[in-house]
Structure formats: C-alpha cells, structure tokens
C-alpha cells in the first residue's frame, strides 16, 4: 500500500446482510422499513412469556443461496444458539444466532481491483463462515433528553453474517470485496442489499504488522459502516491512526470504533479490556436445522448466472477485455443494459467501451445506477450506430450523453435537431482544408522543414471550422495528402 509502505495492513470484514423475506426470521410479523415504532410485532418479537420461535423457510433458502454463491460448503445440519447480552432493543436478553455449527463455511470470492499502478488485479478472499441470525430492534436516542425510545419493528428481521478471512491488504481491496459480495447477493436475490436502508452493513477489523511478521497485530473493529466509500475512508483513517501509534512506540489497544463520515473521523465506542463473553449455548427452543442434500443441490441448480461466469461469457462472446467485462458485471444492471444494447444491434466492443468509460463516468458523477437514468438500450444502440457510421463524431456523442441520461429521447432526432451531424462531406472538408492552408503559410513552411507537429495545429484549425463535427482522422488524412502531395 502506498500511504504506509512500512506496515502491512491486515483487514477482515464482517458483513450483516438482510435477507429478502416478507416476514421475520422466527415470527410472522412483516419486515418493514420506515414505519411508525412497534407496528410490526408479535408476541415472539416482544419475547412475551410462552412465545416460541418458528423458523422462516424462505430465509433458510435465501441463506443457502448466499452460501452456494460464495463457494461455501453448505452444511446439511446447523444449530441455532443463544448469544446472551443485555441491551434495551434486545427483548429476550439474547439474540438467536448460530455459533458452533453455522449454516455454511469455507467459501471464497475472487475480487477484482486496480492496484497502485492502475492495473486490474484479481485476488481470492476467503470466507470463513456464513451464519443466520436475527436483527435487534432500534434504539432512538434523540427523541427526548431523559429517555431512549425503543422500536421493535426490526427486532427479529432475518440476517446472515458473512465473515471473511483476514485476507485483504488495503482499503481498495476491502472496497472491491464488498462490491463483489453485494453484486453476488443481489444477483441471487438473497438480499436487496440496499445500504441506505441498512440491509448491507459492514464491520471492519483492522490491524497492522511489520512486513515479514507472521503474527497478527492487535486489531480494532470499526462498526456498522454503511457505504463503500465510507468503509474505504474509515479503514484508511484507522490504518493512519494505528501507524502513528506504532511509530511512537505505543501499543494498539483493542477497541470498538465508530466512523463519523461527516468529519472523516473515528471515535471510540468502547475499549475492550476482556474478550466478549456471550455465553453461547444451543437454543433449547429450536431443534437442529436440517436441509437435505438434494434440496441444497436443487437450490444450486436454480441459481442464476453468477458475476464471475457472466464476466467470462461476456468477454468470450463479445471479445471484450477482462477489465471491461469485470466493470460491466460489477453492476448486474450495467451488464443487463450491455446485453440489451447488443441485442438491439449495438456493436459489442464499442458498447462495452462506451459503457465502462463515458457512461460509467457520468453515472459515477451523478451517483446513479444505469436503470435509474432515462437512457434505454435501444437509444444507446442508435447513438453508437451514428458514431460507427460517421454521422456523429465521438466528441459530439460524448456531449450528448448527459442529456440522454437525464432526459432520454431519440439520439438521431436530437442530432438533426441540434445540427450535430458530422461534416463528412469530403468536398466540404477539402474546401475547409484549402482555406486553412491558404491562411497559414508559416505552419506549412515549418511542416515542410520537418516540424510534423504543425500538422496538429492545422488540423485544429479545420476542426474548429467544423465546430468539432468532423472525423479528426479523416481531416488529418486530407491535410497530409495536400501537404505531402503538392
């Protein structure tokens, strides 16, 4: 890593993902978002005496999908355990989770990211385990000066926790892992993974060690960061903080941190003097979760094409570069758009080129996914066709792009409406070239003296006269022909 070359950064991530179910993990209350407090509870959610949990089959199915899609071994038998701690938004005084026998273990993801040199690198990140658990309720601290308010709408919502191996070595790798994980979970429809709604929350464990050390340094855990950008920024800030401590010869103390995105600053939530003691034990209310091997195989067979396979197929079918294919499948929506545009007649390589560069840049600037824009694959295909056939220069197409993304419309109509047609009339270009040559004898002289750069100047003059609507390569040809020929 560039900013702290003297230390090796070791990062492991724990991601809590909300499964895409209609009801909670152990109760028939609806999963909701943004509703008034306590509008979605049953006696199970409130831990009323005698209420017993009954497991949601759909949640199990989605968790199995996530396990398979992340190359885990899904275990035919797993056990629910009680994780005991006291907090007002945890009505039972324990969270039902899985501990000793989780649903899935031993997976991995191949993660693509740009290294310091800007080259596309692939790295395999191990996944230690995936277990099922229920979410806690929400504590609202701002409503009153003396009280905290508790809303149990979220209590019992089904989650999986995905624990990675400490395999990541930079914030960029961590960001790439999270993006890949989210794309996969969305592809298999295990989760909507909407980060703003807290459906994909990340805890980052960070430690530093001197290069060559085999033992891990003392780690800190940064809790509940809910955007890719913030995760990378939070890790970067924590690496910097730990490096400063180590430089000064201080010891890193185990701690749980929070990240304040507004101030780009970490704050200590609590120091951990002792290991957590949750006194896990098998939940006597729940007998083992058993999933027949045949059922696991059935779920495996029903999964849609995963991003890695799709990337290979797109590269193969359309002759795309590995980097382009990787960028396309990083967002399922972008890859879908690409395939629709190609089906609508867009030349594949040009489509990939434009989508991963010009379009991606516009989307990034606006923080949008392609499906949230007004651009449709058909219009995109006809835009590319205008460029391919020379009716529109690449430059004009780039200028038109933001408008198409925001307002939609038919590119061909927009082009004629705006008079953006490329000047491809050879006769007209010849006349313009002659005009430019006639008024720039100096440039001609220096070109003939061997200063080939003068040609660029002359080209620029012709392009200016066409208001950028000519094909620069053709203009160059015409000028060179006139200069070298006469």
């Amino acid at each position: 890593m560039s900013f702290r070359p003297d230390y090796e950064v070791v990062i492991g991530l724990e991601v809590h993902v909300q499964l895409r179910t209609r009801t909670k993990l152990f109760s028939t209350a609806a999963v909701s978002y943004g509703d008034e407090p306590n509008h979605h509870t049953t006696p199970v959610c409130l831990a009323l005496p005698g209420a017993l949990p009954v497991l949601n089959g759909q949640a199990v199915e989605l968790a199995v999908r996530a396990g398979i899609a992340t190359n885990c071994e899904v275990h035919p038998r797993s056990i629910f355990a009680r994780k005991n701690y006291f907090y007002p938004d945890l009505p039972k005084g324990y969270q039902i989770s899985q501990f000793e026998e989780p649903l899935a273990t031993g997976g991995w993801l191949d993660v693509e990211f740009e290294d310091e040199k800007g080259e596309l690198t692939t790295k395999r990140v191990g996944i230690t385990r995936i277990h099922m658990e229920e979410d806690a309720g929400k504590s609202l601290h701002d409503g009153s000066a003396v009280d905290s308010h508790i809303d149990l709408n979220r209590a019992g919502v089904p989650l999986i926790e995905i624990v990675s191996e400490p395999d990541m070595r930079s914030p960029a790798e961590a960001g790439a892992y999270l993006r890949k994980l989210r794309a996969i979970l969305r592809t298999v429809e295990a989760s909507d993974a909407d980060m703003e709604k807290g459906q994909f929350r990340c805890d980052a464990n960070v430690s530093l060690r001197r290069h060559g050390d085999t033992q891990l340094g003392t780690r800190t855990e940064t809790k509940n960061v809910n955007s890719f950008r913030f995760v990378e920024a939070a890790i970067e800030a924590e690496v910097e903080r730990q490096a400063r401590c180590l430089d000064e010869g201080e010891e890193i103390r185990q701690a749980t941190l929070g990240y304040d995105a507004d101030a780009d600053r970490l704050f200590v939530m609590r120091m951990k003097e002792n290991a957590d003691d949750y006194r896990y034990f098998p939940d006597p209310d729940l007998i083992p979760l058993v999933i027949e091997e045949a059922r696991i195989e059935q779920i495996r067979a029903g999964l849609p094409e995963l991003p890695d396979r799709r990337r290979a197929r797109l590269a193969d079918e359309h002759g795309l570069t590995a980097a382009e294919a990787a960028k396309l499948v990083a967002s399922a929506a972008l890859a879908d758009f690409f395939e629709s545009a190609v089906a609508a007649g867009a030349p594949a390589r040009a489509a990939a080129h434009w989508l991963t560069r010009e379009v991606a840049a516009c989307l990034n600037e606006r923080d949008l996914e392609i499906e949230a824009t007004a651009l449709v694959p058909d219009a995109f295909a006809s835009l590319l066709e205008l460029v391919e056939t020379g009716r529109l220069t690449a430059r004009s197409a780039r200028e038109l792009l933001p408008e198409l993304l925001e307002g939609g419309g038919d590119p061909a109509a927009l082009v004629s409406e705006r008079g953006l047609e490329a000047v491809s009339d050879e006769g007209a270009l010849e006349v313009l070239a002659d005009e430019v040559l006639a008024s720039n004898p100096k440039a001609i002289a220096s070109y003939r003296d061997g200063d080939k750069k003068s040609l660029n100047f002359l080209m620029g003059q012709v392009m200016k006269k066409t208001q950028g609507k000519a094909d620069p390569a053709r203009v160059r040809q015409i000028l060179a022909g006139k200069l070298d020929g006469s």
């Binding site: 028939t28 049953t42 005991n84 957590d276």
Partner: protein, 101 residues
Amino acid sequence: MSRIDREDVERVARLARLRLSDEEAAEMTADLDRILGYVDLLEEVSTEGVEPTAHVIPLATPLRDDVPAEELPPEVAVANAPASEGTAFAVPKVLDDEAEG
C-alpha cells in the same frame, strides 16, 4: 478442589446483571459447586463416538411459509411497558458503554 470459586460467581452475576450480597454469593458458590459435582458424575460414562446432544427430540426443525400473519396492534404491544412514548417503549437513557457485552 472446588469446581467454581467466588470470582466465577461474581463474574457470571455481573454478566447476568444480578446483584448478589456477600452472603448470597457465598451460598451461590457452594450451591453451584455441588451442582457441578453432581454433573461430574456424567464424566464417568464413556462418550467415545457419541455426538453432543443439544436436543433429545430426533426431529429437524419445522419450517414456516414466509407469509405475514396477524400482528399486535401497537398500543397493545406497549400496553404492559412501565413507560412508553407514542407507540415506542421508553427506557432510561442508554449510555454507549452499556452496549453489547
């Protein structure tokens, strides 16, 4: 040798948010020690090759369809709470260092 000492009892009591008097702690230490002694009897049985038994029912957990059913009206949900504010439960202000664990 005792199987459990005063310190263990105090630690478990703290985790369970129980306040024990000196007398209660002493009594509890002796009681728990006797209980663990009784459980020790089981150590005499050979459990080679026997899977740990968390449940005695030879069944898999039944699964439920993902269909919402009747929920408690919010006023009913908070009806038994010592304090509420609107439809939220009201609890003494939570301090950060009381979080988990």
